[in-house]
Assembly symmetry: C2
Homo-oligomer: 128 residues x 2
DNA sequence: CAGCATCCCGGCAGATACTG
DNA sequence: CAGTATCTGCCGGGATGCTG
């Protein structure tokens, strides 16, 4: 998967690899939901599970681990009694904000386009 | 998948849905490669298959269909002899450019971060 | 509470062969 | 050339139950 355009277009491979890296990091099924739930102040495992309907502990655990490996969140263990575990977004997660906002904007626009609004401009180009 | 934050945070659901829409459209395994190969001038099925190493005709066909359904490409049949079929990016695909560029930028930056560049002020370094 | 272990199933996607 | 058909392995991810 990483070796697209291996021999043909080395300059393209250099363009595609970072794009796929970015997509791999954020396109997990629950990752965006988790990051947003955390930005709303949910920090603990149970809080996240409650905030995100339908997620199973197994999936939550798995996605949290991947987010942590990608340095987007940090797992903090306070050995109070009872011990408390909290997850927090890192500074690196902040750098994702513009990208997520761009995804949101394009996603909204795209929905307008595919649901057939001819209010806008470029739509008429793909009507036969 | 679409019903995250159903009851808890309706405003979040409205944020997540478009993001997931956008991701669903572009995060197919070969979609970015196909769009880039097309932007390089590859139009015909065989050209695309040659330009994208390791893709099978089955996958190419499937991804082309999905891109077409999302109005990102257009399938044109010229009934010359022999009949020629060409795929072209639509105007709507142009609107994806800033998003892909943002993905590429963040993907590159992210790789720097995870491969251990010691960053003290991540946000500042990320900006141009 | 914060997860891990197990079982299991549907679908993604590769390999290969075939068609108009 | 531009795909389709079939067979198959793999694994993402749900359900359930269990632990420290």
């Amino acid at each position: 998967m990483k070796e697209n355009f291996k021999e043909n277009h080395p300059e393209c491979r250099e363009m595609i690899l970072p794009v796929r890296d970015a997509l791999d990091v954020i396109s997990g099924k629950w990752k965006i939901s988790i990051l947003i739930a955390m930005s709303l102040g949910n920090k603990r495992f149970m809080e996240l599970q409650n905030a995100i309907p339908n997620i199973t502990p197994r999936m939550l655990s798995k996605e949290l681990k991947e987010l942590e490996m990608n340095l987007l969140i940090e797992r903090k263990v306070y050995d109070s009694f009872p011990p408390v575990i909290e997850y927090e977004r890192t500074a690196h997660a902040q750098t994702l904000e513009p990208l997520i906002e761009e995804l949101r904007r394009w996603g909204e626009y795209h929905r307008l386009v595919v649901t057939g609004t001819n209010i806008h401009h470029p739509v008429k180009e793909f009507q036969d």
